[in-house]
Amino acid sequence: MVISIAVHGAPYAGAGSRTALRFVESALRLGHRVHRVFFYHDGVLAAAEPGVAPQDEEDLHAGWVRLGETHGVELAVCIANALKRGMLDETERDRYERKAATAHPAFAIVGLGQLIEAMTASDRFVTFAA
């Protein structure tokens, strides 16, 4: 089955981001294809490369990066939501002349059309609300 999900909550602010991560890991283990993870609202903060997780807490950012880099899961971050929350890739850093890119390169900063495309191209679309 082809699955896409939306992640609405910031990592650590609630259980949503962690539950979404578990869901995708489980879906892959069960042989499903994950078409896209779309980060929306505060969910875009999962892309924050500068974050440092406490040693005794799970590193959710690293978990998402692992899914992207090792399993080829597309990690899509809504550009409008990302920019106003300080999530910039190198292209946006250059465009807005900021000092640093803050989004890990495993995440792609994309338009909202990709959210709707994820819905239409998947057998199931699951929202992890904040």
């Binding site: 609405h8 939501n81 495309e117």
Partner: protein, 118 residues
């Protein structure tokens, strides 16, 4: 292929950025020719109040953004009747026409969808 997508709006218009950002997603779904419905429940009904001014809070006006939905092809707007009764709201308070649904009708609306999101 177009899908039947229902957006559930149950948050206040200005308590968080959720309402504005959700409406942006609804507008894009409309532009991309999906079969979009919107259901307002609970405090989400406040998003529909007429006489809003988001400018007073330094932002956009949620009601005005919702007013653009028909232009984007989103005309299936529904609202929870029990929520409205609890909040003391009715057609006269709202900036857009909605179809009022009781809980059983909302269940049927949800069951008709391919995707339900918020």
């Amino acid at each position: 292929m177009a899908k039947r997508i229902l957006f559930l709006l149950n948050r206040t218009p200005y308590g968080a950025s959720h309402a504005l950002e959700a409406i942006e997603a609804i507008l894009v779904a409309g532009v991309l020719d999906q079969k979009v419905s919107v259901l307002f429940t609970g405090a989400g009904l406040y998003q529909l109040l007429s006489d809003q001014d988001g400018g007073a809070l330094g932002g956009r006006t949620v009601g005005k953004m919702l007013g653009a939905l028909p232009e984007y092809g989103v005309t299936d707007l529904f609202a929870c009747r029990p929520s409205a009764e609890r909040l003391g709201l009715g057609d006269a308070n709202l900036c857009l026409p909605v179809a009022w649904l009781d809980h059983a009708e909302q269940r049927r609306l949800i069951n008709r969808q391919d995707i339900v999101t918020s």
